[in-house]
């Protein structure tokens, strides 16, 4: 059960209060009626599904009700940052990202290969 920092409530809360809402920073095309089938498929269906650092949306649905954004490592499930909806994609301090990547190298294998303890 994740522990999620809500940027509006300014507090860490249990995942039980939240609902995941998909990848972040996918803007609805302004001229949506005019885009091509390919562009629509891209907008509606295609997602990065990153292994590692991902930007995603959550809603504090059983809390303040707000949607917000999070940067999370999908390998360790560690949150690197959460920030309010509407803010541009936040860059992750290189040190943090490095840890995330390092963790990917070490942690991911713990069960995937279950073989190489150091």
């Amino acid at each position: 059960m994740l522990l999620i920092h809500c940027p509006y409530c300014e507090e860490d809360r249990s995942e039980l209060e939240f609902r995941w809402a998909g990848e972040a920073h996918i803007a609805r095309p302004e001229n949506i009626a005019a885009i091509t089938d390919e562009e629509f498929a891209e907008y509606f269906f295609l997602r990065n599904n990153e292994k590692g650092l991902t930007y995603e949306r959550w809603r504090h649905i059983h809390g303040c009700g707000r949607f917000f954004n999070a940067a999370r490592d999908t390998v360790s499930d560690r949150f690197l940052m959460t920030y309010k909806a509407g803010l541009p994609k936040q860059s992750i301090p290189p040190a943090e990202e490095a840890t995330a990547v390092a963790e990917e190298k070490t942690v991911e294998t713990w069960e995937a290969t279950e073989g190489d303890a150091r």
Partner: protein, 417 residues
């Protein structure tokens, strides 16, 4: 390959089982193959086997970053059924079920396919309408699936509580008698052994790090942590990691990977004769040959490659199990685990050509990939060998997300895989 039989066992018993040979070898990769398959799960190994057996293509490598069968093949709750709604789904799952029925003999490996029946519980009028829609469609398509009254359901599965006072009383069930379970590891091992016997190289501990493409965009092979391996055709069958691998070729696929959890109880003497699923209360359960109650829990809500999930997913499934089967409340959870499922927007798989010549994909099986193993593998082999999909898998193409011709089992069925 030495044939497995009771006589072989008897012979080996006399000499302390010293004579068994390795079920598969661990060869060094060649510099190039006719076909490279990424992912040595049941689907990938099976595809290699059928390439060799049915298409005469034996210069094949199956590349696996971990150990063969270590992904979702070895982590699922082994449910097999084919009573899906849409023609595209019925085609592939029924093709698969037919192969399951003879798979042990085909592979000379006991995969323990056990058609003990898969029963889906109906709790309300909406469930009933949906199940009857399935049952009628299945019947006209030649697939067995029948409606049971609550009393018939109870007779088929005695631990079931059919009292009217339950929170969500059962008003019937859909039963596919040919549905059942199989031994997951044996499927991977059986295909691995049979494929290796036909000359396929199974290369474990070899991680694909890139897909090399030629001047015209066509596939030339795969980069791995053990060097470049050439191939004119590459098939990707990497389950939860499919989108990661496809990204290496610049192909985006509409997938999201979520943890799926399962758990087993301590071993018990036989108490549960079949497979039972309930979508309304979110539970599925069977009993393994070892006596463990095998219970599938739900997916976590977020994308993750961590193969772990929240405890609340487990407790939510168990409360449903205990409502349906109140005698199990004192039973104990012995082990829980997780896998990574790759889910498509319409909850139906993708198997087909890609924009990259020579690159083929088989993914998006979500929570239902195990049951499809032989069928998917068989048709994937056809796709790779011929360069175009088999009739039975034609609808599973990637283009459907552009045209909108989805195969929306989730929307239509309201039944989990």
């Amino acid at each position: 390959m030495r044939k497995y039989s009771v006589f072989a066992i008897a012979r080996e018993a006399m000499r302390a089982h010293k004579g068994w040979e390795a079920q598969w070898t661990s060869p060094e990769p060649r510099s190039a193959y006719d076909v490279v398959i990424v992912g040595a799960g049941g689907h990938g190994l099976g595809a290699a086997y059928y390439l060799a057996k049915e298409h005469g293509i034996t210069n094949v490598a199956v590349i696996e970053k971990g150990w063969l069968g270590g992904g979702n093949t070895g982590r699922n709750t082994t449910i097999i059924r084919s009573n899906y709604l849409y023609e595209e789904s019925m085609d592939i799952y029924e093709h698969s079920l037919k192969l399951w029925e003879g798979l042990s003999q085909e592979l000379n490996y006991n995969v323990m396919y056990s058609p003990r029946g898969v029963m889906m519980l109906s709790h309300n009028v909406h469930d009933q309408q949906s199940f009857k829609r399935h049952i009628n469609a299945n019947r006209l398509y030649g697939i067995d699936n029948e409606w049971l009254t609550p009393e018939q359901a109870k007779a088929y599965c005695p631990p079931l509580d059919i009292s009217k006072t339950a929170r969500y009383p059962i008003n019937g069930a859909a039963l596919q008698r040919r549905g059942g379970t199989a031994r997951h590891d044996a499927v991977a091992w059986g295909y691995a052994r049979a494929a290796a016997d036909r000359g396929v190289h199974i290369i474990q501990n070899c991680e694909v790090t890139g897909i090399r493409r030629g001047p015209n965009g066509e596939v030339q092979g795969v980069e791995t942590n053990r060097g470049f391996i050439g191939a004119k055709k590459v098939g990707v069958s990497a389950a939860g990691h499919s989108s990661v691998v496809m990204e290496m070729a610049g192909v985006r696929v509409p997938l999201h990977s979520t943890p799926l959890q399962a758990l087993v109880s301590e071993p018990l003497k036989p108490i549960f004769p079949c497979v039972v699923m309930s979508n309304t209360v979110h539970a599925y359960i069977s009993q393994s040959d070892k006596g463990e109650l095998v219970i599938g829990a739900g997916t976590d809500q977020y994308n993750s490659y961590s193969q772990t999930g929240g405890l609340q997913i487990i407790t939510h499934t168990l409360d449903a199990i205990c409502e349906l089967f109140p005698i199990f409340r004192r039973v104990k959870m012995m082990r829980q685990w997780g896998g990574i499922t790759d889910n498509t927007p319409d909850r139906s798989p993708i198997q087909g050509v890609t924009p990259v010549p020579g690159l083929f994909v088989n993914c998006g099986w979500g929570t239902g990939g195990f049951k499809a193993t032989p069928g998917s593998a068989n048709l994937f082999a056809h796709l790779i060998a011929r360069g175009e999909p088999h009739r039975l898998a034609a609808g599973l193409n990637l283009d459907r997300f552009r045209t909108g011709r989805l195969i929306d089992e989730a929307a239509a069925a309201a039944v989990a895989h």
